[in-house]
């Protein structure tokens, strides 16, 4: 088992098995859940999670807390809507442009905030994020102000209309897997190592001859990609985009999603998105102050865990292992390594 884990062919085998498993799970989901759950919970948490991975990547890998990811999200979503509805571009050209706009706007945000870190960065990006909202609200000639864009028809791919539930689910799920795979790939490249250097020790990274500014900027660009994809799919899902899609509430929502999930693994964003979506949909059955509940849950998780729900799970798992080891003696010693 141990040998298999560490050999290259073993890893390939494991990845293939994981992909097959994921594929089976994706294929089976529409049959397992009701139409309402599929649309309101599953698809919604998938695109929210895609947008969340961009922030999870920045925080978890590069240690950059950005509150400007909704600005990237909005830029892509708005660009697609504007190109199609106001300029009559074909939908796929617009989607391509929007996907390209993600990394580009990430790059711009990175350039603005390249010299900041920590709390200062958080405030600067918050100002950028809220600026994005005001821009969308005030620039009526381009963004149609308050109302934003309505009546956006989702594209048709291979004869399947993405305005329908199931095709949209499959495309979103595949996009989610692709985005996670891409971001995971980046974390394994030398650039990915540089991002972790940025997170763990800026000075040492600098001493090694890296430019922290260039590293920061490129991290923002990479993260911009998934935020942009999230923005595009959200417009397909909602059929609309307005300043309300990127206001302070949304900025905080994205941070909540990532914090609740935990940033140790990128996939935490999907867990967080699922929790938030479930709360938003079902909390009103026992309270009519949903937002207060969401905020309170967020505060409690921040208070009790440094790494969100994922952190709580991992912690519980290692605690359980310690207990088992205590009772079972040496038998579990080899498994302990596998967990770490």
């Amino acid at each position: 088992m141990q040998a298999l884990r560490h050999s290259a062919s073993g890893r390939l085998l494991a990845s293939c098995a994981l992909l097959l498993l994921l594929g089976a799970a994706i294929a089976a989901t529409p049959a397992l859940v009701s139409d309402f759950v599929l649309l309101q919970i599953v698809i919604k948490s998938l695109w929210l999670g895609i947008a969340g991975t961009s922030l999870a990547f920045l925080i978890g890998q590069a240690g950059l807390i950005s509150l400007a990811q909704t600005a990237v999200f909005g830029t892509s979503g708005y660009l697609m809507a504007i190109l199609v509805l106001d300029h009559g571009l074909s939908i796929w050209a617009a989607v391509a442009a929007a996907a390209f706009a993600g990394p580009v706007s990430g790059l711009v945000i990175g350039v603005i905030s390249q010299r900041s870190s920590g709390l200062y960065l958080m405030m600067l990006t918050l100002a950028i994020g809220v600026f994005g909202f005001f821009f969308a609200q005030q620039y009526q000639p381009i963004t149609r102000g308050h109302t934003g864009f309505n009546g956006f028809d989702a594209p048709i791919i291979l004869g399947a209309d993405l305005g329908e539930r199931e095709p949209l689910f499959y495309v979103t799920a595949v996009a989610a897997v692709a985005v996670v795979a891409l971001l995971r790939f980046v974390t394994r490249t030398p650039a990915g190592l540089a991002y972790r250097g940025l997170r763990d020790n800026r000075r040492r990274l600098q001493a090694l001859g890296y430019s922290t500014a260039a590293t920061t900027v490129s991290a923002f660009a990479v993260a911009g990609f998934s935020a942009g994809i999230g923005g595009v799919i959200s417009v397909w899902y909602n059929g609309a985009i307005s300043p309300g899609s990127i206001d302070l509430t949304r900025i905080i929502e994205l941070l909540i999603v990532v914090t609740i999930g935990g940033t140790i693994h990128l996939e935490g964003a999907f867990l967080g998105a699922l929790v938030v979506t479930l709360l938003r949909n079902y909390a009103n059955e026992f309270t009519n102050r949903t937002e207060t509940l969401v905020g309170a849950v967020f505060m409690v998780i921040v208070l009790i865990s440094r790494h969100g729900l994922l952190g709580i799970f991992i912690n519980a798992k290692s605690q359980a292992h310690k207990a088992l080891k205590f009772f079972g003696g040496q038998r579990l010693a080899s498994e302990k390594e596998a967990v770490v």
């Binding site: 958080m122 500014a213 207060t292």
Partner: protein, 350 residues
């Protein structure tokens, strides 16, 4: 891993192995960091902007006075907000993003008091006390995290949501406002012109000046102020000297909350109380605090005047571009002075 065997930096600059554009980047950033180049650029741009502002103001003649006063009024409100924010940051190293929510609580609290008693000053006082109390409660919750800055900031974000939702639940979503005290209702003639200006707005400027003066007295003439300043410089040393730092911290949180509460009462009188006002005022005070330099009270004062004036100017002359202009100004300040107008390098790394 070829990178672990990277040779020492060569003659043409440090090696930046993984980014091809890194050398060009390095040259550009070294040029922009060159002090002469930056100073010349700064002076040139400032002169152009000043020329532009003056010529635009001459165009509209008398009404420039109104723009100026609007800018100063906004500056007054921003100073009330930003001074508390920057004090809390300087001493507790907490970025209190719930400051906008506390502003709203102060304003709405004052509204409730005014509706029952009809007295503006009593309303503002109780609103400020209420906001200060909420701020202290927030501090007590934050203490549980023991100085983990980023988690503290996230906690204040959570508090923002809870406060906004509770305000909506308690006071409803319809925009409303307070009535100014009777002797401050109406307008006065501006000298040398036929223009009128609301009395209350002028009173806000006076209020901010008074608050600034009191803060100065508090910080530089009292024992508590001495402790606060010492705490900003070196919190560990202060606690070693046997000072009860938590008490000092709690009083700073109370002070900041009370200032935000008064700002809420004042803003709720000449602007309005509504959903979303908390975000607007939070953004404005963030811009002021970042531009002024985190933790610097003088910086907050200078930056609130600059931001207020620039905003008023932009709203009059370029209503559509106003947000861009305010934001461009912030970016320009940060490019020229990365830690704000009066911020030290230490503030930014915390």
């Amino acid at each position: 891993m070829h990178r672990s065997s990277v040779p020492a930096a060569s003659a043409d600059g440090p090696l930046q192995p993984d980014f091809n554009a890194a050398l060009v980047w390095g040259r550009l950033s070294r040029f922009s960091q060159h002090s002469m180049a930056r100073r010349a650029l700064g002076v040139g741009v400032a002169a152009l902007l000043a020329y532009y502002a003056v010529s635009k103001s001459v165009e509209i003649g008398d009404r420039s006075l109104l723009v100026l006063l609007n800018g100063l009024t906004a500056a007054g409100l921003y100073f009330l907000m930003a001074s508390g924010f920057t004090l809390v940051f300087g001493l507790a190293r907490v970025t209190n993003l719930a400051h906008g929510g506390i502003y709203l609580l102060g304003g709405y609290g004052a509204l409730s008091v005014q509706r029952t008693t009809g007295n503006w000053f009593l309303a503002a006082l109780l609103g400020a006390l209420f906001a200060g109390g909420v701020s202290v409660v927030l501090y007590l919750v934050l203490r549980l995290l023991r100085g983990d800055g980023l988690r503290e900031t996230m906690l204040t974000l959570g508090a923002t949501i809870v406060i906004a939702d509770q305000v909506l639940a308690t006071w409803g979503g319809i925009p409303t406002d307070l009535d100014p005290p009777s002797f401050l209702t109406g307008s006065i003639d501006l000298p040398g012109s036929t223009l009128l200006y609301p009395k209350f707005r002028l009173a806000v400027v006076a209020l901010a000046l008074l608050a600034g003066l009191l803060l100065w007295v508090l910080l530089y003439k009292t024992r508590l102020g001495m402790l606060i300043r010492a705490g900003v410089d070196d919190p560990e040393m202060v606690s070693v000297l046997g000072i009860r730092v938590p008490l000092v911290l709690a009083s700073v949180f109370a002070l900041a909350g009370a200032l935000a509460g008064i700002a809420g009462a004042a803003g709720g009188t000449y602007l309005s109380l509504a959903q979303g006002e908390d975000n607007r005022i939070l953004l404005a005070s963030l811009i002021v605090v970042i531009a002024g330099g985190l933790g610097s009270l003088r910086g907050a004062g200078a930056a609130s005047v600059i931001v207020g004036l620039v905003e008023a100017f932009a709203q009059t002359h370029h209503p559509v571009l106003s947000v861009l202009i305010t934001f461009g100004m912030l970016t320009a300040i940060l490019v020229l002075r990365p830690h704000g107008l009066m911020g030290g390098a230490a503030d930014a790394s915390a």
